[in-house]
């Protein structure tokens, strides 16, 4: 038998298999962990309307209302058209411009020294949630805060 004669000797190679295995584990762990960083948009909701006699609230000329049209999906900002939900860049640019002007002119929220950047979003009920979030994303990119969602008296 050949076995009996040759002693073979210790193999000088390092066995790298466990090392590679451990590295693969680490790789997989990081692949799994990375996408699970959750994020969210914060939105404010107006308080529930109380059954009180209608108080005449003075309309705030600085209020920005972004509305979505239910048929055409067009976006309007204070009744001016700015693109639609598939292309929110126009809205973002316009809002950025408005906020820049306000910063330059020192337009403050009433009673505070913060720049008025409040935005309200109004959307009919049949609009896809995804489209509404796209609009919120655009507003947020322009720096709007707080973002308010209109809840009452939405059209279907």
């Amino acid at each position: 038998m050949g076995m009996s004669t040759s002693s073979g000797g210790a193999s000088p190679n390092i066995n790298v298999t466990p090392l590679i295995d451990v590295l693969l584990v680490l790789l997989i762990i990081f692949m799994v962990i990375t996408p699970s960083k959750p994020s969210r948009f914060e939105a404010k909701v107006p308080a529930e309307p109380k059954d009180q006699p209608q108080v005449n609230v003075k309309p705030n000329p600085l209020t920005l209302v972004v509305a979505i049209n239910k048929d055409t999906k067009a976006i309007t900002l204070n009744n001016e058209a700015f693109g639609d939900v598939s292309d929110t860049d126009k809205l973002r640019d316009r809002l950025t411009e408005i906020f820049r002007d306000r910063t330059n002119n020192g337009v403050f929220r009433e009673g505070t020294n913060e720049i008025e950047k409040t935005i309200f979003i109004k959307s009919p009920k049949v609009v896809r949630y995804g489209d509404v979030v796209r609009v919120i994303d655009a507003a947020k990119q322009a720096g709007a805060a707080p973002i308010g969602l209109q809840i009452d008296d939405l059209q279907d």
Binding site: M1, M3, S4, T5, S6, S7, G8, N15, T17, P18, D21, V22, L24, V25, I28, I29, V32, I33, S36, K37, P38, S39, R40, F41, E42, A43, K44, V45, P46, A47, E48, T96, S123, P124, K125, V126, V127, R128, Y129, G130, D131, V132, V133, R134, I136, D137, K140, Q141, A142, G143, L149, I151, L154, D156
Partner: protein
Amino acid sequence: MAMQVGGTSELNSDINVTPMVDVMLVLLIIFMIVTPLLQQGVSVNLPRDMISPDEDADIAKDTSVIVAIPDNSNFYIGKEQYPLDALGDVIKRRMEGKTPEKRIVYIKSGVEVDYGRVVQAIDTIRKQDIDKIGLVADKKKGGEAPK
């Protein structure tokens, strides 16, 4: 027998179990990581690739209240399904003892859900005196930081 002749040249008859153990450990670790992720609730087709949402580690915490709306007919909190009129009580119970700045309810809604359904959920939430809502969305990788 050849085996009995040369002491140094014996064949090693043991199976090398190291690679197998390694693979088992890999599987163990993978499952340890994946299981809590799966248990967090129902799977929802979240809005993807948003540029500016803020990261909020609280969403993943067990104590936070997350209303999931995977489609037009169901509301879930955690893994439990609730009808719309029961949502309020559950949220109220979960919110007990939280400081005012922690009183935020997260909404995980699918992109195809009608906004009206989301509004119904928000309407229920605000009846519990909560005025902060977190709309959970997926952040685009490498998205620009909010200005």
